[in-house]
Amino acid sequence: MNLVLDAVCKRFGDGKQAQLVLDRISLAMHTGQFLALLGSSGSGKSTLMRLVAGLEQPSSGSISLDGQPVRGPGSDRGMVFQKYSLYPWLTAAQNVAFGMELQGLERAEIRERTGFYLEVVGLAESARRLPRELSGGMQQRVAIARALAANPRVLLLDEPFGALDLQIRESMQEFLYGLWRRTGLSVLLITHDIDEALLLAQQVHILAPRPGRIVESLTVELNKDNLQDLRLSPAFQSLRHRVADTLRRLDGDLA
């Protein structure tokens, strides 16, 4: 898997009212990488994710996956949204099976893979429950299982834990990190949460707002064997402070 963004710009509106939302974004990621885009509101990070997903087209520049230009949405780029992530009329298992059904897989294979991915996210017990009977964290785990079951080359996560309570968010971060370690997924994560980006990703691109542009890219070199300890470690805290300063300065330019 090779995802390449080359000088991607996005404008909304026409003529004089046109607003530049993303300014020459370039980045590359390869198989098994965990990459985060970190930015405050107005940094166009969700727009960037929609461009990668193919839900919108760049105004200029190019996006390609394994050499093929991205022209529209497809199952090679699985996406998890922050809210309304599950179909409320389908059970957890039916939600996981949804993508495979759309792709026309064999019934037996769908059943087998549904069971497997529910197991992977630790929700085999909840297969028959409706989304409204699941907690917010469980719902996002089902959404991740559904995205994985569709067999994407890269998983796109758009603030997947942004609507969860702090404690659940932390345990979900640990869950996602463990999942990535076990499976060797390729993950592109969008977040405004500094801890989340630094804890989970190997590489973090910091986006400045209005227009959204990458101002700093850093490689996180920390011992991530225990995320709970890592959160409290001095090395993590000092990195966190430095990134927070950068973000504050970027927002300060506006005021």
Partner: protein
Amino acid sequence: MLRPLRSLMRHPWTLGVAGIALVFGLWALLAGLQLVDKLFLPTPAAVLAAGQESAANGELWSDITASLLRVLAGFGLSALVALPLGIAMGANASFCRLLEPLLALLRYMPAPAFIPLLIIYFGLGELPKVLLIFIGTLFFNTLMIMDAVKFVPRELLETALTLGGKKRDLLLRVIAPFIAPQVLDAFRINMAAAWNLVIVAELVAADSGLGKRITLAQRFLRTDQIFLGLIVIGLIGLVIDLSFRLLMRRACSWAN
């Protein structure tokens, strides 16, 4: 002794049934005490007798069938047109901008005002009555379905696309199941209008139906038959309403 009483009081239907019983009780009292001339206010017993007579000679059943068939035909036609139209308007912004002002205008023309025109065009048969119900419910059905489609969360549609779905999958796999409860609810609400309109149509011109029975009864000052007609109309409406609620609970349990 007290506990069953208390749980009965907490039952959601208890107060509703009590409200209906209260009005019937007052009616029985007023009529029984003969405070009002019984020509104007027949006793419950007289209305019951009128009902038994009407059921025995078959008029009641043929009237109910005639009215129900008109409602089914008119409303069925309206639902059949409103579904694709409302979905198209909800899914396509240009189509919506084209038709919404027109429908908003038509919606404010009271359907009964179309009766003279319908009679001129189609005479006194079944067609104008069916069309009256069609006209009277089409615009409401369409606009309510359109609204339901507009509120399908964008994320649900886009998720399907990123899971390998094609645009043609969206209608049946995402939009239809999502709007089903709202569509059923819209049908339930607008069915009340259809049931009103069939009575209006029969009051104006008909040779059968519950509305026709009431006008005939008026001519002979048979207030007992008028009361009977009103109660039967109300009861059937209630049954239709409850059926829709039951259907919704069965078919869309996720939305409750």
